[in-house]
Symmetry: D3
């Protein structure tokens, strides 16, 4: 079941390495910003991960949702907290969000079943 986690991370790492090696300055800085923006500041890491998750969900980006689900899991957020965030995303984004909600539930289960 957790293969969808491993597959996602393997492809992501491989292609990120290729993009970084290509050395485009604008893209590299955006990647760096992506790392920095979720560091603790006025808001803590858990809140920031939920913000990233909800933004990714309403924009209907499955890979971004997976990334933030995994970061949320690592940050110690509970399923109840994650689902409540996803419910707000579904209300704001409408029923077109539902297919992404299905895949989010599947990916969260895979994260919890990982060893």
């Amino acid at each position: 079941m957790s293969d969808i986690v491993n597959d996602f991370n393997a492809y992501r790492s491989k292609m990120n390495a290729e993009i970084m090696a290509d050395n485009n300055k604008v893209i590299k800085r955006i990647f760096n910003l992506d790392t920095n923006a979720y560091a603790p500041g006025a808001l803590d890491v858990k809140t920031k991960e939920l913000l990233g998750l909800v933004a990714s969900t309403v924009l209907r980006c499955d890979d971004c949702v997976k990334y933030h689900l995994e970061s949320s899991h690592k940050a110690g957020l509970s399923k109840a907290e994650v689902v409540e965030a996803l419910s707000i995303a579904t209300l704001i984004g409408g029923t077109i969000v539902i297919p992404h909600l299905r895949r989010a539930y599947e990916f969260w289960d895979a994260l919890e079943n990982q060893k």
Copy 2:
């Protein structure tokens, strides 16, 4: 050929059941509204299904398109009616809709070839 219909429905049913079992009140009510909104009212079921289809198409949600193609098929809409609705979606949404149009044609064929 109709495997894409069965696969879609099997995954959809499995994950919807999991989401419903999780019992988030906001999500459950949105699912219920989704059922009610397409019931006959001032507009008949066929018209409502076409509205759902066109909205799903311009928002480029393949799973939503599949869902409404199947409901449209069950409601007795003809391919000519469905394609005319899709043509309006393509004009409004532009050529980025075309990849979704390809998959819609493929799925409609699968629906017609189902036994």
Copy 3:
């Protein structure tokens, strides 16, 4: 109250004339297609107008919504039919559609109060 209708149409006509006079072939053909696509075919004019309205609403294009509200009004659609179409758009598109729903209600009122 119906000033918002007149203002919309005056600006729209003026700028459309300027765009047409500029004579870009691709843009002109898209404008022509826009006229043809809503002519009666497998679907009648009323259904097509509602399709255009719902697509415009979920894509959150206020000017497109106004245009299709006026065409829907001219095609003889009732407020009950238009609102039911808008309710499907709100469900599919989510609560971000609500500000556009407010402006749609305001514009429909202006259409009904026109002399």
Copy 4:
């Protein structure tokens, strides 16, 4: 300066009243859900307001941003917290978010200068 707050709320209240009076069941239930979804649960009100704010910002809905800025202000969130949430929205949503960021800053100032 706080006129943009009053104008927004006056129009919003007037049109919401008209929509509610029209009594469409689907739309009414979505409005009700909108109230319930931001009540405290697994997540507290402040976190939920920031989720609504970020979702509204990446979807580039100025009226939704204004609504959540005002709710965030009422919930006692600081400008530093709100801006950090907006910075994540700008990174995820890209530079097309910047015009909405400008209007968000202007509206927040108006909220702080209200009497």
Copy 5:
């Protein structure tokens, strides 16, 4: 006629200054990237401005379109080149782009009539 240019630039400058003064690191870096990305590189400035214009148009961000129209004008692009880029944006993005096309034509005229 060129008031729409001056109004746009005055508001943009005032709010950008306020955002920069607020000193959020992520937002400041995105603003800096925005300046750097359009500098000549493998592609020349004119091509890059057209890329920014088309991206802004299909994403239907009027303020972004205005900004890139002004930069395109300053970079010495002709109306014929700009309109051809806009025609591609209209084809890809569909008829929902048309209201933004109207405002783009109006703004370009204002740029040409500026003293």
Copy 6:
């Protein structure tokens, strides 16, 4: 490695043929416009392909990105030019574009490794 190119083109050709055979006038004209819009005019073919690529990328349409990557490759654009265009798309569209950037890099590699 170039299988992703062949698979994409085979499916695209098969479904385009089916859509054309279905003979919907609006859809056929949009397909024709799609061919004409990228012909040389005030702008040359290379510039137009980059415009199509950037529009497809910010709208996050993987199939459209693949199509324009292949056309860009055929038109003789270099990887450096294509990547610079993609960097502008990533800045404008935000980090949600990154998953599409990964797939664009993979597809470009496949195009270069084709025989």
